[in-house]
């Protein structure tokens, strides 16, 4: 995991996914949705809730 314990902003996530089309984004609803689904799948696979929401910024993958 390259960015463990680092805050990754939602803007960075969007730019990583969409590249130049980031200008079309006015909200980050789809980021929230995808992260929520990712959490569900991790928990469903008996994993822990590694992804922590950092309010106003983005997310952090908490290793421990």
């Amino acid at each position: 995991m390259t960015n463990r314990n680092r805050i990754i902003t939602k803007e960075s996530i969007v730019e990583h996914l969409w590249g130049d089309e980031v200008i079309l984004t006015d909200s980050f609803d789809f980021v929230y949705t995808h992260v929520k689904n990712l959490r569900k799948k991790i928990i469903a696979a008996k994993g822990k809730n590694y992804i922590k929401c950092i309010y106003g910024f983005g997310y952090k993958f908490i290793e421990n």
């Binding site: 902003t9 089309e21 006015d26 910024f57």
Partner: protein, 405 residues
């Protein structure tokens, strides 16, 4: 030419009348001499076209001479005939008076005048038509280099390295015009290249410090010792730089479109782009309870740049999702003529005419830079498509009309 014809008609008419009047006066003089010498009148004569009547009076009269047109009825032809009437009255020296009346037919002269006029008109008309034809042929040859220059200037492609191909000509004015065209197109090409270079440099130069700011902000926010107030400040700075980044990207995209940066076109299936987008946004739409209907034909193919096609459709559909209401719907109809997106949403609170203007926002969302629809408009203008919008209550309809293959 018409004026000349009319003048000629009246000149010939005047000359004919003058000749007739002179002959009548000559006849009068001959008769007058005879009367004064012999004190007798010659016999009156009358033919179809010429009548002379002389009367010797037993009283003096005033000297009088009248020449005018008159009409006499001819019973043989049952019609009135135009005559030139000459009347003269005088006195034999110190004695009684006499009158001389002469009628000279004019109809024949009139006919002659008419025939001459007709031939003259025909001659003038022929000259007129021939002059038009000659003028046309000469102009066509003479102006050919001009039209060729104008045509080539109109087809000038600023993207091409080839100089403007202008025909050789001996006419000084056309040579001057060619020089102006060459100079103008060279300047256009130079300006275009300068602007293109500026855009490319601006993209790099502005994005570099922005990227540095954002990367430093990301490093800063990893600092666990920061207090809440500091974090809030960092959050504000982060939002502002993100907005600045999107502004820069948006304006650069518009500039690139204007400068024909995206000139490589290919056949694009709009249906595929729509289906990809709807697939990507499926979860979002499910969360908001938005129902989607897609009515698309396979022949909705347009020839345009692939990147711009994606930006165009994504922009329209993302608006339909973003501004939709919970449990609303989106209907897409696409055929080989147009794409119609109908969606539910809150009633529009702004002037629809302003929607496609830069920086015009319909929401207070600070993340919105207000460039999405102006980018759409720029793309549609570039490809001679038509974009229109209308809103009726909670229903929004966007229509994109294009030339389809």
């Amino acid at each position: 030419m018409v004026g000349g014809g009319v003048f000629l008609y009246f000149a010939i008419r005047k000359d004919i009348y003058k000749q007739i009047d002179n002959s009548l006066i000559t006849e009068k003089d001959i008769i007058k001499d005879q009367i004064e010498q012999t004190e007798t009148a010659p016999d009156s004569t009358a033919t179809f076209d010429h009548q002379i009547e002389v009367k010797l009076l037993n009283y003096p009269v005033h000297k009088l001479q009248i020449i005018k047109d008159t009409v006499l009825y001819n019973s043989e032809i049952d019609d009135n005939v135009l005559f030139r009437y000459f009347f003269y009255s005088d006195n034999i020296v110190n004695k009684d008076g006499y009158t001389i009346s002469i009628f000279q037919i004019l109809s024949e002269k009139q006919d002659l005048l008419g025939t001459i006029s007709l031939y003259m008109f025909g001659l003038f008309l022929s000259l007129f038509l021939i002059s038009i034809l000659l003028n046309y042929l000469i102009s066509k040859k003479l102006w050919s280099p001009f039209y060729k220059s104008v045509e080539n200037a109109g087809n000038f492609d600023v993207l091409s390295d080839k100089p403007l191909d202008l025909p050789e000509t001996d006419i000084i004015e056309f040579q001057q015009l060619n020089r102006v065209f060459e100079k103008m197109t060279q300047k256009m090409r130079v300006d275009y290249l300068n602007l293109k270079e500026y855009n490319e440099n601006a993209a790099h130069e502005i994005q570099t410090p922005l990227a540095i700011i954002r990367s430093k902000m990301e490093l800063l926010m990893q600092n666990k010792s920061l207090k809440k107030d500091s974090l809030n400040l960092i959050k504000s700075i982060n939002e502002a730089t993100t907005r600045l980044f999107k502004l820069n990207q948006g304006l650069l995209l518009i500039s690139k479109i204007e400068n024909l940066y995206f000139h490589e076109n290919k056949k694009i299936s709009l249906k595929e782009i729509i289906e990809n987008f709807l697939g990507n946004y499926r979860e979002i739409m499910e969360i908001k309870g938005i129902k989607v209907e897609l009515d698309a034909t396979d022949n909705a193919i347009v020839e345009m740049n692939e990147v711009l096609a994606d930006v165009l459709i994504s922009n329209l559909l993302s608006n339909a999702v973003r501004y939709n209401i919970d449990n609303g719907y989106i209907k897409c109809h696409i055929d080989n003529q147009c794409l119609i997106i109908t969606n539910t949403g809150m009633p529009l609170k702004t002037d629809p005419e302003l929607l496609f203007r830069r920086f015009h926002k319909v929401s207070d969302n600070p993340q919105s830079v207000g460039l999405g629809l102006s980018i759409v408009k720029k793309i549609t203008d570039n490809y001679k498509m038509n974009i229109s919008y209308r809103n009726t209550g909670n229903i929004h309809e966007t229509t994109l009309t294009y030339r389809s293959e």
